[in-house]
C-alpha cells in the first residue's frame, strides 16, 4: 500500500502493469525464489537471465498459476491478484510459452491452439472453422505448420512454435517466453523475433528468458538477473554488456566460452555411404577420432532422424555404415552401444530422462554394467560415479537421490549429457546438447568435449544454435529436407552462407 502511494507521489503516472512484491517459493527444502521484488512496465520487453536453477522458470510458473506461491504478492495494475489457477492468469491476459512444451500430443494442432477456448455454435464445436482459423493464424505468423495434423507428428521445435502461436492468439496483455529459441534455428528464431517486436508495438508486455545473451541484447529494453533465487539487479539493456551480465549471473567472468582444443584427427571411426531412412536420404559422411562433426539445418531437416538411425533407434533402410572400416549393421540401440556409440537425445522429457527416478539413477543408467559385480550392484561405485558427474557438471540437485523431475530444465539437460560421459564410448552423438544450459555450464560442457576428443573419441554434434556448431565443429555438414547439401571445414564458411544453404535460396 505504502509503496503505491509513494510511487504516485514521485509522479509515476500509473503503477506498473505487473509487480511482484517479496515473491517467495519453496519446494520442500529447496528455496527456489527468495523474496523477489520486480516490476514489469506496460509495453516493455523485459529479459530475465540467470544460471540454471536460478529460479527463472519458477518465477514464470508463479505468474501463470502453475504453482501456488509460498508468500509475497502479485499486483496487476496496482491491485493484488491471486493467480491461483492457470485459468485466472489466462483471464487476466497473462500467457506463457513454457520451457517444456506442454500441449496434448494426441490432439491436432488446431485443437491444441484452441484448447480451453473452443469455438462453438449451439454448444457444438465448429471443427472445420477452427482448422481454417488455425491455418490463417499460423500463416500469419510465418510458421509453416499443418493445422490438422496430430501434434505428435511434429518435432519439438515445431511444437514450440505451436505453443507460441497459441499463447499469442489469446488476446494477451502479458506474454512470457521461457527459452523459446532453445530448439529453434535462426530462421524460426527470426520469425519469432519479428512476432515479439510486433506484439511490443501493439503494447503487449513481454518477458523473455534466454541463455543466449545476444538475443537479450537484440530484443530487450531491460534485463533482470536472478542468482540462487534472488534478484541481483535490473539494468537497462542499452547501459550494460555481456560481461556485466555474466558476472552478475555467476559472480565470476568467463574468458572463453567456446573452448576449442586442437586435437590431431586420427583414424576414421564411422562412415556412412548413401545412408537413407525415415526422414533423411543418401547421407554420406565420416567421423574421425578427435574430431567434432557438426550437423546444422532447419527444424525437420532430418538430422535427428539420421543420428537416431546411427544409434539403431530407427534403423536405416538402405546404404552402408562402416565402423572403423568394416561394414556393420545397427538394428537396435544395443548394437550401437556394443560398437561404442553413444547418443544423447534431443528431447530430454520424452527420450532423455526417467523423470521419476533419482538423479543418480539417471546418470548411472547406461553404465550399470560397469557398476555391478555380476548381477549385484556395487553401491559404493554407484554413488561415486553419480557424485562425480554431479560435481563435474555442477548439477544443482538436493542430492543424487532427488528425482530428476525436481531439477530445473538446464540441470536436467546436464544429466542427459552427463550420463554418457562416463560411458567410455568411442563415438558420441549429442543432439542439441546445450539446450537450455547456462553460459557457465556451456563452457564447462565444451571443455568436457575437449577431454573426450583428447581421449580419442569422435563427436557428432547436432545443434540448431549456429554460433555453437560454427565455432566448435571441425567439419560442418548442412542438412536440408533430409539431404546433406553442403560440408565445410572449420572456419571455411560464414554464418550467412551456412544459413542460406540450410534454407535453400
Amino acid at each position: 500500500m505504502s509503496i503505491q502511494v509513494r510511487d504516485q507521489g514521485v509522479g509515476a503516472p500509473s503503477p506498473p502493469l505487473l509487480a511482484l512484491e517479496r515473491l517467495d517459493k519453496r519446494f520442500g527444502a529447496t528455496h527456489a525464489l527468495k523474496a523477489v521484488d520486480l516490476a514489469f512496465e506496460e509495453g516493455e520487453v523485459h529479459a530475465i537471465v540467470g544460471e540454471n536453477g536460478a529460479g527463472k522458470s519458477t518465477l514464470i510458473k508463479l505468474l501463470t498459476g502453475v504453482h501456488p506461491r509460498s508468500s509475497g504478492e502479485i499486483r496487476w495494475r496496482g491491485a493484488p491478484v491471486a493467480i491461483a489457477t492457470p485459468h485466472e492468469a489466462i483471464a487476466l491476459g497473462v500467457n506463457a510459452v513454457h520451457q517444456e512444451v506442454v500441449l496434448c500430443p494426441h490432439l491436432s494442432v488446431a485443437a491444441n491452439l484452441y484448447l480451453g477456448d473452443e469455438r462453438t455454435r449451439f454448444g457444438l464445436l465448429r471443427r472445420g472453422e477452427m482448422v481454417r482459423a488455425a491455418r490463417v493464424l499460423l500463416d500469419g505468423l510465418g510458421f509453416d505448420l499443418p493445422a490438422d495434423a496430430p501434434l505428435s507428428s511434429l518435432t519439438i521445435g515445431q511444437q514450440q512454435l505451436v505453443a507460441t502461436a497459441r499463447a499469442q492468439s489469446r488476446g494477451v496483455k502479458f506474454l512470457i517466453f521461457d527459452e523459446p529459441t532453445a530448439y529453434l534455428t535462426r530462421r524460426e528464431a527470426a520469425a519469432l523475433f519479428a512476432l515479439i517486436r510486433r506484439l511490443k508495438a501493439e503494447g503487449v508486455t513481454i518477458v523473455y528468458i534466454s541463455h543466449r545473451l545476444e538475443e537479450v541484447f537484440e530484443l530487450s529494453d531491460r534485463v533482470s538477473v536472478l542468482r540462487d533465487g534472488a534478484l541481483v539487479g535490473t539494468r537497462t539493456t542499452a547501459d550494460t554488456d555481456e560481461a556485466e551480465l555474466i558476472s552478475l549471473m555467476i559472480n565470476r567472468t568467463i574468458e572463453q566460452i567456446y573452448h576449442k582444443v586442437a586435437v590431431e584427427p586420427g583414424a576414421t571411426l564411422l562412415e556412412t555411404r548413401s545412408l537413407s531412412g525415415e526422414g533423411f536420404a543418401d547421407v554420406s559422411l565420416s567421423v574421425r577420432a578427435g574430431e567434432i562433426v557438426g550437423l546444422y539445418g532447419l527444424i525437420g531437416a532430418g538430422r535427428s532422424e539420421f543420428a537416431q538411425s546411427l544409434f539403431g533407434r530407427r534403423p536405416s533402410r538402405s546404404g552402408e555404415i562402416l565402423w572403423q572400416g568394416r561394414p556393420v549393421s545397427i538394428r537396435a540401440e544395443r548394437d550401437a552401444m556394443r560398437l561404442g556409440i553413444a547418443l544423447s537425445p534431443e528431447s530430454r522429457r520424452d527420450q532423455g530422462l526417467c523423470l521419476g527416478l533419482g538423479v543418480g539413477n539417471n546418470l548411472n543408467l547406461p553404465v550399470y554394467g560397469r557398476l555391478s559385480w555380476g548381477p549385484l550392484l556395487r553401491g559404493r561405485a554407484e554413488a561415486r560415479n553419480a557424485d562425480r558427474q554431479i560435481r563435474d557438471l555442477r548439477i544443482k540437485a538436493a542430492s543424487r537421490h532427488a528425482p530428476a523431475s525436481s531439477l530445473s530444465g538446464g540441470n536436467q539437460q546436464k544429466i542427459v549429457i552427463g550420463k554418457w560421459l562416463s560411458h567410455g564410448a568411442k563415438l558420441f552423438i549429442f543432439d542439441e546438447p546445450t539446450v537450455g544450459v547456462d553460459v557457465g555450464t556451456k563452457a564447462e560442457i565444451y571443455r568436457l568435449f575437449g577431454d573426450l576428443l583428447q581421449a580419442g573419441a569422435g563427436i557428432v554434434m547436432i545443434s540448431s544454435y549456429l554460433p555453437e556448431v560454427h565455432e566448435l565443429a571441425d567439419t560442418l555438414h548442412v542438412f536440408r529436407r533430409g539431404a546433406l547439401v553442403a560440408s565445410h571445414a572449420r572456419g571455411e564458411a560464414g554464418h550467412e552462407r551456412i544459413l542460406a544453404e540450410a534454407i535453400g535460396v
Binding site: P86, H87, V102, L103, P105, L107, L124, L125, R135
Partner: protein
C-alpha cells in the same frame, strides 16, 4: 486451404474406415455363423443377439469416457448390480420401504430417476476420491466395488428381490419399429437395442462435437497441458466418472427389467467385459484414443462369440478359450492397422 480440407477429409474417412473394419469383422462373423448354423440368421436370433449385447454395449460406452481420460472404472459391474437392487427395492418396497411411504419413488419413472441419481452420486464419489483424495482410479473404483456389493448385500441379506411390476419388466421385451426379415418373418427392433442408441447418439455428439468431449481427450493426452490451457481438469474428471456410473446405473435398470429381479451380486465381472469391449473397439488404455461406436461394435463382437458358441453347442469351456484368443487377435490386428495408417 484446399489441401487442409482434403487432408481433413482423408483423416475423417480413415477414422470411419477404422470403425468400419471392425464392423466388417462383425459382419464376417455373422456371415460365417449363418452358414455354420441354420438358426443364426433368423429374426428371432438376431433380436436375441441385439438384446444380449445391449447391456454390455451401454456399459462399454460409459467405461470408454473414463478410459479416454486415461482412467479406469472397475466398479461398473457392481454399480449395475447395486442399481438393479435399488430399482427393485423402490418398485416393490420391502420392510419399512412400502410403496406407500415412497410415494412417487415407487412409480416407474420415480424409481428409475432415483436409481439414476444414485448412479450419479456414485460417480461423484469416484470423482471425489480421484480428484480430491488423489487416489489412482484403479484403486478407488476397486474399493467402491467392494463397498457397493457389501452395502447391497447388507440391504438384501443376499436375497434377490423379485419385481412384480409387469409394466416395468414388460418393457425389456417390447420393441419399436419393425421390418420384414429375410426369412419372411418380421424383425422387431427390441427396446433394449433402442436403449443403446439412446445412449450412443448423445454420447457420440458429446464426445466428438462438444468441448467437454474434447477436454476428455485433452486430459487423457496430457493433463498438465489441459490444466495450463485453463481447462477445469477436476470438473472434467468428475464428469467422466459421473457419466460412467450413470451408464452403469442405467444398465442396472435395464438388467432389472430384463431378468425381473434386483440383486447386488449380479453383473459381477461385467467391468472386465465392458473394458474388453471398449479396447476391442479401439479405445487405448493409455488414454486419449476412443470413440462411441467402437465399444458398441466391440460388445456385439463378444456377444456374437457367445451366441455363436451356444448355437454351435460348443462346450462352454471352449468359449472361454476362444474369447481370450479372439481378444488377443482382434486387438493385435487393430494395432497393426493403426500403425500402418
Amino acid at each position: 486451404m484446399d489441401e487442409v480440407d482434403a487432408a481433413k477429409g482423408r483423416r475423417d474417412r480413415l477414422a470411419l474406415l477404422l470403425s468400419l473394419t471392425l464392423f466388417l469383422l462383425l459382419a464376417a462373423m455373422w456371415v460365417a455363423l449363418s452358414f455354420a448354423t441354420g438358426t443364426f440368421w433368423s429374426s428371432v436370433n438376431i433380436v436375441n443377439l441385439l438384446r444380449q449385447g445391449a447391456m454390455i454395449a451401454v456399459l462399454a460406452v460409459g467405461e470408454t469416457f473414463v478410459i479416454i481420460t486415461a482412467g479406469i472404472d472397475l466398479s461398473v459391474g457392481a454399480v449395475t448390480g447395486f442399481a438393479s437392487m435399488i430399482v427393485a427395492l423402490l418398485l416393490t418396497g420391502s420392510g419399512w420401504l412400502t410403496p406407500l411411504h415412497l410415494g412417487f419413488l415407487s412409480t416407474i419413472p420415480g424409481a428409475v430417476c432415483a436409481t439414476l441419481a444414485i448412479g450419479v452420486l456414485i460417480g461423484l464419489f469416484h470423482g471425489f476420491g480421484i480428484v480430491r483424495m488423489g487416489l489412482p482410479p484403479f484403486i478407488m473404483t476397486l474399493a467402491t466395488l467392494n463397498i457397493l456389493r457389501g452395502i447391497g448385500l447388507l440391504i438384501t441379506r443376499g436375497a434377490t428381490i423379485s419385481i412384480t411390476n409387469d409394466a416395468f419388466t414388460g418393457f425389456s421385451l417390447s420393441s419399436f419399429g419393425s421390418f420384414p426379415f429375410t426369412d419372411g418373418s418380421t424383425f422387431r427392433v427390441p427396446a433394449l437395442f433402442w436403449m443403446v442408441l439412446l445412449v450412443a447418439v448423445p454420447g457420440y455428439v458429446f464426445l466428438g462435437h462438444t468441448r467437454w468431449g474434447r477436454y476428455l481427450f485433452a486430459i487423457g493426452s496430457n493433463r498438465e497441458a489441459a490444466r495450463l490451457s485453463g481447462v477445469n481438469t477436476r470438473a472434467i474428471t468428475y464428469l467422466a466418472y459421473v457419466l460412467c456410473s450413470f451408464c452403469a446405473s442405467f444398465v442396472g435398470v435395464l438388467l432389472a427389467m430384463r431378468i425381473g429381479i434386483g440383486n447386488p451380486t449380479q453383473a459381477e465381472g461385467w467391468e472386465l467385459q465392458a473394458i474388453a469391449s471398449s479396447v476391442i473397439g479401439g479405445t487405448s488404455l493409455f488414454g486419449a484414443v476412443g470413440s462411441v461406436q467402437g465399444p458398441i461394435i466391440g460388445s456385439f463382437i463378444l456377444t456374437t462369440i457367445n451366441n455363436g458358441a451356444n448355437l454351435l453347442n460348443l462346450n462352454s469351456f471352449w468359449q472361454l478359450v476362444i474369447t481370450g484368443a479372439l481378444i488377443i487377435l482382434i486387438v493385435y490386428f487393430d494395432n497393426l492397422r493403426r500403425k500402418k495408417s
